[in-house]
Amino acid sequence: MIWCLLAPSLAIFLAYRVLPLAWNVVLSFEDWSPLHPARWIGWDNYDEMLFDDDVFWQALWNTLLFMASAPIAIAMALGLALLVNADIRGRDVYRTIVFLSYPLMTVAVAIIWRWMFDERVGLINYVARSLGLVDRPIEFLNSFDWALPSVIVANIWQTLGFYMIVLLTGLQSIPPELREAAAIDGAGAVRRFWAITMPLLRPAVFLCFVIGMLNSFTSFDLVYVMTGGGPGRATELLVTYIYKLGFAQTRFDYAAAVTVFFFALLISVTAVANRLSGDDAGAMRAD
């Protein structure tokens, strides 16, 4: 009976997640393209990836940076959550506004932010220039130093609200008695935060973190439209690289190797994070 209930979902995941992954695993040991039959080549693709492909390492590094931006966003979100958790008028409105950017279509978000960062008519440059912060416009998306941060900003803008809501409810699920008791014991606000709030927020934080990592490939559209991975390789992520390898260079076999690596990376990072957050956090909890 249980299995009947699970069956449909399992079937879908099997068809659109598990099998494709298996396909990638097999392919990563082959020499294949849509245009010629497969040939088993053992570890060649991995060998090339690890020892002969600077782009791969660049993309990996960028991906890690991208993931590393999640904690920043989460911290910001936490601050926000604390603010909108205060019992003030119109906080629902604030919550809504902050959250509003999450449901947006990523391609559109990318276009919007390309527009914000634009050299001539982008609002950011305009403000910066009229405030005299910069004398000549910064071409955010076209500079090696600014491109990745700019993309990350856009990403944070989109996901901030989501983090905020998750953390907000984390906060609300903490029984106020605890804090009050601590207050009576003479614990200051700061100490109360670190001693009581933070530990109890762990699951929420963990979930945010997982979502943040998934962003590193759900934001494919974002990077693809905003910078296409450029300039140079400044914003190349593993996902964009995988896509390019497959569909621009017809190297699905090699792309598969990168995919498998990426998958392994995500899994292990999640596992580690799960350990850190006390093993029973968020969605990972088995009971």
């Binding site: 902050v98 509003l100 279509m105 490939f217």
Partner: protein, 270 residues
């Protein structure tokens, strides 16, 4: 109990809200003014706004048709998500052998980047004979892990006594889900509806691959038309953005309360 001044909080939140809203304004402004977009400085307030870029959009692509397709696919996806995820979520609240395995499977499924699954996914859809059909468009998203956990969480919040009593009255699991669990999990339902709607509404790569005929295209694909050569479609591009985003935002504003609650439940208790 503890009194603290409110205005700094309001101030901070106001600032943040503005920061969050500005991009919307900037695009909205561009979509109603045809000012030369390569001239500096840009004007902060729109002068001589006009709706004609929206008219252009309407005629550049068969907007109504694409819109209907997007709606059809989204409705399919949403319906499937609510039912399938509810079933799966309920199952996960019960104890059975291999439960942990299933959970792990689901979680690892989240980690597969879609871009890498296109080709096999396409072949499978082809095997099912669903290419270039609404169902084929919707299927990969008909059940989503996050949403399953949202249901799981809110079902766990339902006092088990209720379910037990129902079972004694001879209600099947199926009956329990529909008669007891779902009515008590409106928030979770709202979350499912919105998230799955957003995901299917915004999907770009998959429709691109599985649709062949012109009248199966969805709105995001219409975007291509505005990055076309030769014409200056800049104003229209931003008008189109607004037109594509509007439905999602509307839906969210309608159900945001339940949505946020449900998401929260799923997030922390999941």
């Amino acid at each position: 109990m503890h009194r603290y001044p409110r205005w700094p909080i309001h101030l901070a939140l106001l600032a943040i809200s503005i920061a969050m809203l500005v991009p919307f304004y900037w695009v909205l402004k561009t979509s109603v003014t045809g000012e030369n977009i390569f001239s500096y400085p840009p004007s902060l307030i729109p002068h001589a706004p006009h709706p004609f870029y929206y008219v252009d959009v309407w005629y550049y692509i068969p907007f109504a048709r694409y819109f209907l397709n997007s709606v059809a696919v989204s409705v399919l996806t949403v319906a499937a998500n609510v039912t399938l995820n509810a079933m799966a979520g309920y199952a996960l609240t019960r104890d059975f052998a291999g439960r942990r395995v299933v959970l792990m499977l689901f979680l690892s499924c989240m980690m597969v980047p879609f871009q890498a699954t296109i080709i096999p996914a396409y072949l499978i859809t082809g095997r099912l004979g669903l290419l270039d059909s609404y169902l084929g468009l919707a299927l990969p998203q008909c059940s989503t892990i996050v949403c399953i956990f949202v249901f799981k969480a809110s079902f766990e919040a339902v006092p088990s006594a209720l379910a037990d009593a129902a079972r004694i009255d001879g209600l099947s699991d199926w009956g329990i889900i529909w008669r007891i669990m779902l009515p008590l999990s409106k928030a979770a339902v709202a979350t499912n509806v919105i998230l799955s709607f957003i995901w299917s509404w915004n999907n770009f790569l998959w429709p691109l691959i599985v649709t062949r005929s012109a009248d199966m295209q969805t709105l995001p694909l219409g975007l291509a038309r505005f990055l076309s050569y030769q014409e200056d479609t800049t104003g229209a591009l931003y008008a189109f953005c607004i037109m594509v985003l509007a439905p999602g935002i509307l839906l969210f504003l309608l159900a945001q309360k339940e949505f946020i609650e449900g998401l929260a439940a799923g997030a922390t208790k999941g």
